[in-house]
Structures are given as structure tokens and as C-alpha cells.
Amino acid sequence: MLNRRTLLGAISALALVASTGIVAAQDKLYIPMISKGFQHQFWQAVKAGADKAAAEFGVEVTFEGPDTEAQVDKQIDMLSAALAKKPAAIGFAALDSQAAIPLLRQAQAAGIAIIAFDSGVDSDIPAATASTDNLAAAALAADKMAELIGGSGKVALVVHDQTSRTGIDRRDGFVNRVKEAHPGIEIVDIQYGQGDQLQSTEIAKAILTAHPDLKGMFGANEGSAIGVVNAKRETGRSNLVVIGYDSGAAQKAAIADGSMAGAITQNPVGIGYETVKAALAASKGEAVPKNIDTGFFWYDKATMANPEIAAVLYD
């Protein structure tokens, strides 16, 4: 008896929640987006772009991603649930391309177009990839660093990881640009903090202790950049030039109060928007460009409020 009551309760809770999602969903084209994450502000900005495109083109879009970027199997489960819904096309940002290939083949066989976004998928199955050119973006960060420290001196990098595409590209983009164009700059250390703010703080502090004459530091994603700012604050090295990546409330505040010189921002809203747009085109059999560069910007205290920049920054 009690169990029946529990069940009824559970079912009505479900119905309540479900009703928000399934109303009038059946006649629209359906495009699920399976992302690498969900709760980080960056992914929420991608979702906002996808929702914007959904409203504009009259399609239904859902957005899901695992809690951490390690949960490859959970992402695969999300992808297989998305396939069961017989979508028109799928937006997908693979955590591990290899693990997803069997399902992507299945989608391909069923005539479902795949659009890769963010770091993409290492395979020729996706019809297009909408992402930031991270190499070029990090090279711009290197140019800005050279400008701000006067063309010579020691700098260090705190990067989120050495295995993901974005980690590798941002590191190499920065390092290669320094080698090519800024011979006066010496990169003394590159460390990895998993994008975790606390871990990155400790790493940056250790680097600052080891190199008292360090002039600049580049944090290659939001968590790394915040870590570098924290370390600068805690060690009182007010002359250190800090360059960050992405945005978020803490990073924007650091730029506003001058503890960070500036940062590279991707265009997460654009990534979401372009992915849905390309997915829609591909599902109709239209040609889509293989690589969609969603763009990036340098922003600092002076340009932060420009409408063009403010539109792609998130809290």
C-alpha cells in the first residue's frame, strides 16, 4: 500500500517535471547536444547559444553533459539515449573519440548527421566541427604577453591538462608563437592543474617561488587562470603580468581590478549557435563547411564593456 503511494508520488513528480520538457515537442525537428560538461559556466554559455538558434530556427534542442570530463561512459549512455529518440541530427563534443565511434557509426548508418563541437571528434564521421582555433587564440595570448612585458623576460604557463585537444593546442599555440616571434622571452615552466582552481593556485605559487624574476604567467583555461591570479595575490607579486583564457565572474573581476592584464575569450555562445545551425542544414542534406571557426577575442579592462565583447563573456 505504502509502496503504491510512493509510486504514485514518484510518478506524479516525474509527470510534473516531464511536462516542462515534452510539450509540443513531437512535430519539431529534434537536435540533441551531448556536451563534455554541463554545470560549468562555459557549457551553460554554449547551451545559451544553442537555445538561441533553437528559438530562431524553430527546432527542439536538448543539452546534456556528464558531471566531470572523466566520465566517458556516462557520456556514451547519454549519446545512446539521444539516438533512441531518432533525432534529425546530433551535436557532439567527444570526451574520448575512440569510445564513441561505434555509436557514431550507428548514427551514420541511420542517416543521422553528426556535428562535432568544441574540441571535436577524431574521426571523419562528423559532417562539420564548430570550434575555436585554439592554436591561433593562444598565439594571440603570446603576442599580448610579449607586448605587456616589453618583449623579453621569463614567463610560465599553467595549463589544465596535457591530454585534451584544448590543453595541447593552447600550450603549443603559446609556446610555438614565443619561439617564432619573441626570441627574448624564455618559457621557464609549464605545469598542469586539471583546471582545478585550488590545484592551479598551488602550482602557480610554487612556480613563483622557484622563479623570483618571473615576469608573466598564462593560465590556459578558466580554472588555471583563476589559480594564477590567486597565487599572484597570495604572494604579493603585484608586477606579474597575468593573461587568462575564457571568462567567468572571478576572471572578469580580476581584469576589472587590474590583477589580470587581460584574457582570450572564445565565443561559446557562437559555438552553440553554429552547431545547431550546421546540424539543421546537414539534416536537410545541405552542404556544410567541414570546419566552422567560431572565433575568439582578446579583451582587457578597456574593452570588456564593448558590446561585441560583452555579448560573448559569461559570469
Binding site: 553533459g65 549512455d77 545512446s80 533512441a84
Partner: protein
Amino acid sequence: MTTSPATNGTMQRLKASGAHQKLLAFASLIALLIFFSVASPNFLQTSNIIAILQATSVNGVLAIAATLVIITGGIDLSVGTLMTFTAVMAGVVLTVLGLPLAFGIAAAIAAGTLSGLISGTLVARMKIPPFIATLGMMLILKGLSLVISGTKPIYFNDTPSFPLISTGSIVGSFFPAVPLPNGVVILFVLALTISWVLNRTTLGRYCFALGSNEEAVRLSGVNADGWKTAIYALAGGICGIAGLLIASRLNSAQPALGLGYELDAIAAVVIGGTSLAGGRGSILGTIIGALIMSVLLNGLRILSVAQEWQTVVTGLIIIAAVYADMLRRRRAG
């Protein structure tokens, strides 16, 4: 009329064995299945049901391991990272050392059993509370997985038969209409085996006895510490099987994965009616609990329920299931 005493007797026995309660958990599962089938035409397809079962396989195996330890009145927080550690060990043996498949399977299960033996020794002989001992093991194993793998995934490209452990389908080769993945078959065979161990062997009897009254077990002259250590070791070996399943499904050992999986496993155990206080529980209940979790998650996804709400609903179901179970027990006296 003539059948009524027999029916009564059957009901009594069902209640006594806890089967009655499992029946109700099973009814909840069926109700969920019916609800989602009615709500979406895409839910009840063979491919989606198989996807649900496949999504259950890893959590189900981990939950079986967690059930054993929880019945003794303990808790094992290390099941998730132990799974990852055993997957990495299989990767070392198969990809780094290039040994044949059987060695990789043996390495994963042996590594799991050894780790369980250490946890069991910490808990039973050194009297460290299970929560603390296995919390420590959870972190040690997470760290070791990263160290041994060099923080990079280990792929099994040199062992083409490895992915078949989980994703191949022996059932499908006999019945092409039902391509049930091997991983699911392994889950069910393991569940039957451990169920048998719990209900028909000495180890199983001591497992329940330790959970209901450890002091009485000790006073009756039984080697309580030894049996408890053995149960943790068995649970560890089962985590090794989970490690093989997840690595073979992903065709890689992902060293950073595993944290948080222990909570999913514990959730499946409590939804299935196993008491966290120990002394009471069943593998069948745990499997139903694991199925309820994955049916719920898959169904909510099929209905396009926003992800933040999926999490809320899962939490509600856990609380509702445990509360219903508590009320039932209070009524039963």
C-alpha cells in the same frame, strides 16, 4: 478453499524471506517501464532496452560488491576507484606488456581481490572504521591509477578481442533478434552466483551474521575477522570484473574516471532494500535498484527532461524508496 492454507503458507514464507519486499521493488520498476513506454514511443524499443541494460552493467556489478560489504554492516567507498585501478592493471598487462587476454582478465580480478584484502585487513584486524579505511583506499587507488598510467588513457588496440568482453554478444549469435551484450550476461550470471553464495554458503551466513550481531559471532568462537576480510576480498574481486567491463566497453582504461561511482552503487543498494545498518539485504534487490536508476535516467532523457531536473528526480526516488522500506519494516515490527 483447499489451496488456501498452502497459499497462506507461501505468503508467509515470501514475507519471511524478504521476497515480498523485492516483489514490491520489482513492481516499482515495472511501473516506471510502463510510465515511460506510454509517455514516449521511443522508449520501448529493443535497442533502447539493451542500452538501458548495458548502462546498468557496470553500476550493477559495483553495487553487488557494495551489497556484500554493506550487509556486514560496513561500507566500501573505494569500489569506483578500485574499478578504475583494475582497468589500468588490465591495460598494463595487455597493452604495455603485450600478454594474452587471459592474463589481463586475471590481473584485473587479482588486483581487485588484493585491494579488497587490504581494505578487509584494515577494517577487520586493525579496527579502522570502514568509512575511513575505504576512503583512504579510494584516494590511494585513484592516485595509483594516475601514476601507473602516466595520467593518460591506455587503449586496448593490440587486443582486438578485449572489447568483446562487454560489447560482443554471444546471445546475439544464437538469437540475432536479441543482441544482448555480454556485459549484461556477465552481470546476471554474477548476480545469480553471489546470490547463491549469500544464501547457501557459510561465507554468506557469516556475512549476514556479522551485520546483525558481530559480538555474538565472536563469542561463538568463529574467526569473525577472517570471514570479514574474506568478504571484502570477494567484493574487491567483483570490482575487478566491473573494471574489465568498463574498460572493454570504452576500449580503454580511463585513469581519471571512478570518483562518484561508489555513490551510484550505494544508491542502487539502498533502493534495492539493503539496510545500511547491516544484517539484511539481497542481490536481487540490488539488481532491481540498479535497474530502477538506469531506467529512470534513460527515460527522463528520452522525455527530454532537463538535466538539472534528472538529478533532482533521482534524489527524490532514493529518499522515497528508503522511506517506504523503513515504514514497511516498522510495520512488520
